[in-house]
């Protein structure tokens, strides 16, 4: 086939339109009130926080090329590989690269990845000034007060024009919620839950994780916390005294170990709780009556639909027991 100008014209026009679409930007106001010109269809995104931003972005189908906390070859530099445990994805296979050593983002490495968008949390305000000369930096509230469940993913979907992908994933998730709810021994409506994580002390998990979104969507409400528990300043969790912890009596007690390290499972969690609150399993009614759910924090802690689905799987397995 001869390439005549007449035949080439539509191809050239399509190519021009395609590159114009890639180059098109739109102004959005991020959670810190900054107006950012972000690409309509970002193709090379860097996330400055893997569990809070990288995973929601990947779940939305946004092409992530760089993640904080990973080596140049994509292997994790942190205590846990959230991409593997939550999404079952291999960063190396996906060609995702790191952006410098932990605690020291390498601006030259970031630039070498040719990102067209960098997404950070509200804690990356001073990083934004340094990274903005390389690519637009969009800052998303991720642990601030007011952030709950999938709100980070919903906000990112709206900012990046990925609402259809989010809506589809959420619809499938809601069907799964209905399925699991039907298998529960008793209707969760009007019943309470309490979720705690064991760091160097027992901490109440706030509502920014997939786990809490799922347990609430099932119908449970948060059990009243002891007076003085500070949960209003944002963050993933808030510490609680061991004495106050053992007095609580939710209908469902969710417990998990710190996500740093591989030590997960019921035996490890019980051992750690024994050390912090000796005799807890003799005092607490949920422990005595089997209303307790031991979870792998690495799978359920991220604010993603995938983490919420892991939570539903765990609840289903518990209900079956």
């Amino acid at each position: 086939m001869r390439l005549t100008p007449k035949r080439l014209l539509p191809v050239i026009a399509a190519l021009l339109m395609s590159s114009a679409a890639h180059a098109q930007t739109r102004d959005v106001v991020d959670d810190l009130g900054r107006t950012v010109a972000i690409p309509v269809n970002p193709e090379r995104v860097i996330a400055l926080h893997e569990p809070l931003l990288g995973l929601p972005l990947m779940e939305l189908g946004v092409p992530v090329v760089g993640l904080y906390g990973r080596a140049e070859d994509g292997s994790t530099l942190m205590g846990v590989d959230f991409m593997d445990t939550v999404l079952g994805e291999d960063a190396k296979a996906l060609g995702i690269s790191g952006i410098g050593a932990v605690g020291n983002i390498d601006l030259e490495k970031v630039r070498a990845l040719h990102p067209d968008l960098i997404v950070g949390t509200e804690r990356h305000r001073d990083h934004a000034a340094m990274l903005s000369p390389i690519a637009p930096v969009y800052l998303q509230n991720s642990t601030a007060d007011g952030v709950t469940g999938f709100s980070v993913e919903a906000d990112l979907a709206a900012a990046l024009g990925r609402e259809p992908a989010f809506a589809a994933a959420k619809a499938a998730y809601e069907a799964r919620v209905a399925e699991v709810r039907a298998k529960l021994p008793a209707d969760p409506q009007g019943r309470t839950y309490l979720a705690v994580i064991v760091f160097d002390q027992v901490s109440v998990i706030r509502d920014i994780s997939g786990a809490i979104q799922a347990v609430r969507d099932l119908g449970y409400a948060e059990a009243p916390l002891p007076e003085g528990t500070e949960t209003g300043r944002g963050g993933f969790s808030a510490p609680i005294s061991s004495e106050a912890f053992v007095r609580l009596d939710p209908d469902l007690l969710v417990v998990m170990n710190t996500f740093i390290g591989d030590a997960q499972g019921e035996a490890v969690i019980r051992q750690r709780l024994d050390a912090l609150a000796p005799g807890w399993d003799r005092f607490m009614k949920p422990a005595k009556e089997g209303r307790i759910l031991y979870l792998d924090s690495r799978r359920v802690s991220t604010p993603t639909i995938a983490s919420a689905r892991h939570m539903l799987d765990a609840v289903e397995a518990w209900a079956a027991r």
Binding site: G100, N104, R111, R123, F199, A238, P239
Partner: protein
């Protein structure tokens, strides 16, 4: 201008203005300046973007631009090197002044609690007022450092001979205040949300990561503010080495000068803490290493200490950036890990040399 031998047998350069510069000090300052330039050159040549030293020099001379080399040199490495030189110089200067003031070789902005004061203030602002603009942090640090300085003056003034107090009393009170403030920083780290704890932990260890022209411009004026005091009092530091009574006998306004020195140390320390976090032990190490290079006093000692401080920070940062790889060692820790062995070996060699001379 002429070269003359003084009563102490040492050669010096006498200027028409009457200023006398010891030749040994001049040589030491020139030598350390060359070493500082060399270390800065190496730091500018090393990084992710591969640049040979000549490439780095060309990019430096070409000025800011859109290319990878210009970005690496002008946007990343040069502000980091300048910040390292500035904060290293600040902490070392503060240490040298405090050591002369207290006549104690262990005095250091960290030991006196000035670093901790600035640190606690900035950490508290990060925890309780996270929306505070970045530009306000130097003021917050300064307020923390000044509060500790004021507290020391009040505490020592009440129990140690009036405002200004004695050098040793200030040191003891400083250690007490520093210990208390260390507990406060630990509490802030323990009881802040886990994500913030990690960030605070990184910052507490001292890091040059946030070096940028903007940050440099934010903290440099505070360091510059202290320079007149440093230059004014530098000449008098020799008389403080003789003791408070002798200095007073020589007509030095000891108490007023001590307050000014403390204020200058607060300014220098606050600038450094705001920029990179605390640089532990640098204020002790740098003046002693400078003394080993040349046993100068007064202003020469301050200049030499500042040069040694800058070289230590930039050198340690470059070494760890190059050798450690994927886990960034915070600059504050790398200065200690690399600087302390140099410090010990140099002191040891210096002691042996002095024994032989004796």
């Amino acid at each position: 201008m002429r070269i003359a031998q003084g009563l102490d047998g040492r050669w010096s350069l006498r200027l028409h203005s009457g200023l006398r510069l010891r030749l040994l000090d001049l040589v030491a300052v020139a030598g350390l300046s060359v070493l500082a330039l060399a270390v800065a050159g190496v730091a500018l040549s090393i990084g992710t973007t591969e640049l040979r030293p000549i490439g780095a020099l060309r990019a430096l001379l070409d000025g800011p631009g859109a290319g990878d080399a210009a970005f690496a040199i002008w946007d990343v490495r040069l502000p980091r090197v300048l910040m390292g030189l500035m904060v290293g110089g600040c902490v070392a200067l503060a240490g040298a002044m405090l050591q002369s003031m207290s006549r104690n070789p262990l005095a250091d902005p960290g030991l006196l609690g000035l670093s901790q004061g600035a640190l606690v203030a900035v950490m508290a602002a990060s925890v309780f007022a996270p929306s505070l603009p970045q530009e306000a942090l130097p003021l917050v640090a300064l307020a923390g450092g000044l509060a500790v300085g004021l507290l020391l003056v009040v505490l020592v003034g009440n129990g140690g001979g009036g405002a200004g107090g004695s050098g040793m009393a200030i040191l003891l009170m400083g250690i007490a205040v520093e210990t208390m403030l260390s507990s406060v920083t630990t509490i802030l780290v323990l009881y802040s949300p886990p994500e913030l704890s990690l960030a605070l932990g990184d910052w507490m260890a001292g890091s040059l990561f946030r070096s940028s022209w903007r940050n440099l411009a934010a903290v440099a004026p505070w360091a510059a503010l202290s320079l007149p005091v440093v230059l004014l009092l530098g000449r008098r530091l020799r008389s403080y080495d003789l003791g408070d009574h002798m200095a007073m006998a020589l007509g030095e306004p000891v108490r007023r000068s001590r307050l000014l020195i403390l204020l200058a140390a607060v300014l220098l320390t606050s600038a450094a803490v705001t920029a990179v976090g605390p640089l532990v032990f640098l204020g002790v190490m740098a003046p002693h290493l400078a003394h080993c290079v040349s046993p100068a006093g007064g202003r020469a000692r301050l200049v030499l200490s500042a040069l040694v401080g800058g070289i230590l920070v930039v050198g340690a940062d470059t070494l760890t950036r190059t050798l450690v790889g994927e886990i960034a060692l915070p600059t504050g820790l790398s200065v200690v890990i690399i600087g302390v062995p140099i410090f010990i070996v140099t002191l040891r060699l210096h002691a042996v040399r002095r024994m032989r001379m004796a």
